[in-house]
């Protein structure tokens, strides 16, 4: 009995620092706290561990931070790496896409898209005038058949601002012609059949560069 108690006491004494930093499981924590309530020595141990933690934090916080050189070195190293060739399926990122579809933010996006659709349809019914380049359209909107040209599949950031996206698309002469599809993909028309391939690539790159708004952008047929 005494040995058992002694073993338990030693085990708890070793766990005090882990208790202090919250690194015990809920079951371990409950047992530890029960032991602490009846063992004054263990309570002293915990008090000592708290002092140790405070001073360890102070010592670490007094240490220097890395200079920007470390990040520059990392990015230079990444640039020197062979280019990645992701598979078709990994580029589609269906798993993450599905997660995004059902995330609260994405649902918010869907609501915004639905609102835009209603607004756009109302606008069409009342104004019946051509849409400026870059304006949002949706798949379910009645519209003229999509002409030829250069296209891209795009996924927008869940917290992207609609006005900012509209501005970006207008700036690049692009417009949404389809979507959202499964995975949150939108089909974007980068330009007409007369758009030079180099300019299509530049517009696609411009979309990719807008990282706060665009999560994914790849050429599409």
């Amino acid at each position: 009995m005494t040995t058992k108690k002694s073993n338990e006491s030693e085990r708890n004494a070793e766990l005090a620092p882990f208790y202090v930093v919250g690194a015990l499981s809920p079951a371990e924590k409950a047992l530890f706290e029960a032991a602490m309530a009846r063992d004054a020595e263990l309570a002293k141990n915990v008090a000592a561990a708290r002092e140790e933690r405070d001073e360890v934090l102070a010592l670490n916080d007094a240490m220097p931070a890395p200079s920007p050189r470390a990040l520059q070195q990392l990015l230079a190293g990444i640039d020197a790496e062979p280019a990645r060739k992701p598979s078709f399926w990994s580029r589609l990122d269906l798993g993450a896409g599905l997660a995004r579809i059902f995330s609260p933010r994405a649902l918010g996006w869907a609501a915004v898209a639905a609102g835009l659709l209603i607004t756009a349809q109302a606008g069409l019914l009342t104004l019946q005038r051509p849409q400026p380049v870059g304006q949002f359209t949706t798949a379910s909107q009645k519209q003229a058949p999509v002409e030829g040209g250069s296209f891209a599949l795009v996924v927008f950031a869940p917290d992207a601002n609609v006005a900012a996206i509209s501005k970006l698309l207008a700036r690049e002469g692009a417009k949404i012609v389809d979507g959202p599809r499964a995975g949150g993909f939108y089909r974007i028309r980068l330009g007409g059949a007369d758009l030079a391939p180099a300019e299509a690539r530049r517009r696609l790159d411009a979309l990719r560069q807008a990282k706060a708004l665009v999560r994914f952008a790849e050429p599409s047929r």
């Binding site: 620092p17 690194a23 140790e52 934090l57 931070a65 890395p66 990015l75 190293g77 990994s90 580029r91």
Partner: protein
């Protein structure tokens, strides 16, 4: 919650994006963990420029191996494991003479009695001094638990020792602190 405590909930998502070649995700992960990983490395190699080189190498390894990360540990535990391996490899390849002299000169010596005498008037200062006197092995485990807030199992994974050894090593490190206190004639109240 401490200000520099990484918000690790979406770390695995960042790793997925890094595996697909997303540089922005890499920069987010770097910004989130650079400070803690850097300080962990600096403890081992005691030279800021060399520690920055190792830090960049750690994250370059993450860039290369992100696709193989299986999520069996937290991302921060994985980072510290890589950092430890690289830091120790570098430390082994360097001689004592290559230690940064300024940093080494700042380390307290066992015989710095005047410093201990001065610290006796301030228990916190004495404790900080005693912590700096711990061996590298003891100090490493103390930092992993108190600063990096790692569990027994996580420390075992980072250091590559059994979980039971983690507990006893930390316990001995704490006893060592008490011994240094006693030698300085100060009662810290435990054990």
């Amino acid at each position: 919650m401490r200000e520099d405590k990484p918000d690790a909930q979406d770390d695995p998502l960042l790793i997925e994006r890094i595996a697909r070649g997303d540089r922005l995700a890499m920069q987010v992960l770097f910004a989130r963990h650079r400070l803690r990983v850097f300080r962990f490395i600096l403890r081992h190699i005691r030279n800021e420029a060399a520690a920055e080189d190792v830090l960049a190498e750690v994250f370059l390894d993450v860039w290369r191996q992100a696709g193989r990360f299986e999520g069996r540990s937290s991302v921060s535990t994985w980072l510290l494991s890589i950092a430890r391996f690289k830091a120790l490899s570098l430390a082994r390849s360097r001689t004592e003479a290559q230690l940064d002299e300024q940093y080494a000169a700042g380390l307290p010596d066992e015989a710095d009695d005047p410093e201990v005498e001065a610290a006796k008037r301030d228990k916190s200062a004495l404790l900080r001094l005693c912590l700096e006197k711990l061996s590298v092995e003891h100090r490493e485990i103390v930092d992993l638990v108190y600063y990096h807030e790692k569990s027994v199992e996580e420390v075992a994974q980072i250091v590559g020792i059994p979980a039971a050894t983690v507990k006893t090593r930390l316990f001995y490190a704490r006893q060592k602190l008490s011994e240094i206190f006693k030698r300085a004639g100060v009662d810290r109240g435990w054990p």
